[in-house]
Subunit: 234 residues, 2 copies
Amino acid sequence: MKKVLGVLGGMGPLATVDFLHKLIDETPAQRDDQHLPVIAWSVPQIPDRPAAITGNGESPLPALLAGIRTLKDAGAIAIAIPCNTAHYWYDELVREGGLPIIHIADAALDELRAHKMTGKTVGLIATRGTLAAGFFQQRLAAAGFECITNSDAEMDEVELPAILHVKRNELDAAGALLTIAVEKLIARGAGGVILGCTETPVVLDRMPAGLSARCVDATRALAKASVKWWKQHG
Amino acid sequence: MKKVLGVLGGMGPLATVDFLHKLIDETPAQRDDQHLPVIAWSVPQIPDRPAAITGNGESPLPALLAGIRTLKDAGAIAIAIPCNTAHYWYDELVREGGLPIIHIADAALDELRAHKMTGKTVGLIATRGTLAAGFFQQRLAAAGFECITNSDAEMDEVELPAILHVKRNELDAAGALLTIAVEKLIARGAGGVILGCTETPVVLDRMPAGLSARCVDATRALAKASVKWWKQHG
């Protein structure tokens, strides 16, 4: 069976497509067959992640593991998950799924370091589930950065509505709100901002260039890390 | 096992992503879980289709059938193939793959009729393999249209280089060449032009609006037809 990179997606579907696009962008290729062999499982009928994390809903873990098993049976030798929030279950997914998973926050940190961030304050745009999981904050602290996030009110009024707009494919509205969320973090001293929810970089091109240049696109970082992984192990 | 739409892709990878994007675009959805469950097999390591059709290379049929079997094992109940040229093997793929395949040319013809084409001359942008297969010309003739294509010289100098540029992710260069290919067909009397190679609509937004409005995007047509199929059978 052909070895492939497994993409565990569908959370949401547009973020998965954005990741697949960036995987192509980040692959040096002149011909079709120089691109990575990929199977993408994009099944959006998965229990709501933020609801599960806050104890208000069914766990998506069984559905995510079923996805990994399907990808493994189809030839996957490693998994990329273009959804930051799903990394809440990273340890269980690796242990029970039995495949290496390229961690999106490790990839984003690599990218942050490569950007030669000025200062040590980093803004983080992420869902409450990702913030509760804490994997971004832990990695940032270990690398000597201080992490700031939007306030509770900004999350409710700006950041979460931006994400919902992307899920509805309403990209102009999403871009306008994301711009505000990033501006707030920069005004509070962030030298750079990690877009740590895969819906958000989908509208990076709808932000003023001066702002988007300060952002680390975690989805693109995961794509870069996946191409690098495949070059070494694929 | 979760029922999914199987996407047999990777020919090329960017065309597959373009199709997945259009599938989302054509789905009326307010939330993630209203989008179609999809598994996309995007494995570009498939013997060259045009070379096989002209008798100068190995057949891709075994690789394509392996892809369909993988998708079937992963829960696919129908297949969409975002590659016009691969439809050369449509009958064998249906017969030996054992799943319904939504035909891209049927989808494009539906779209052409919906466009209320003026006149009866239709331009067709397609690879030599797709032209040799004849499925577009047969359907157009049956629907009362006359089909015109670029000349051999135009194919070599404009159309095929445009396709290769897309495969290299050189989209501006591809858009400029595709514009010329479409202009030639309209100058020869085409009332509309079918973009019957999935690389070409990737650069539709790089064409002058007056020209792109005359084009039928076969990839988007396949996405629409897939959403319609899923609504009835999924």
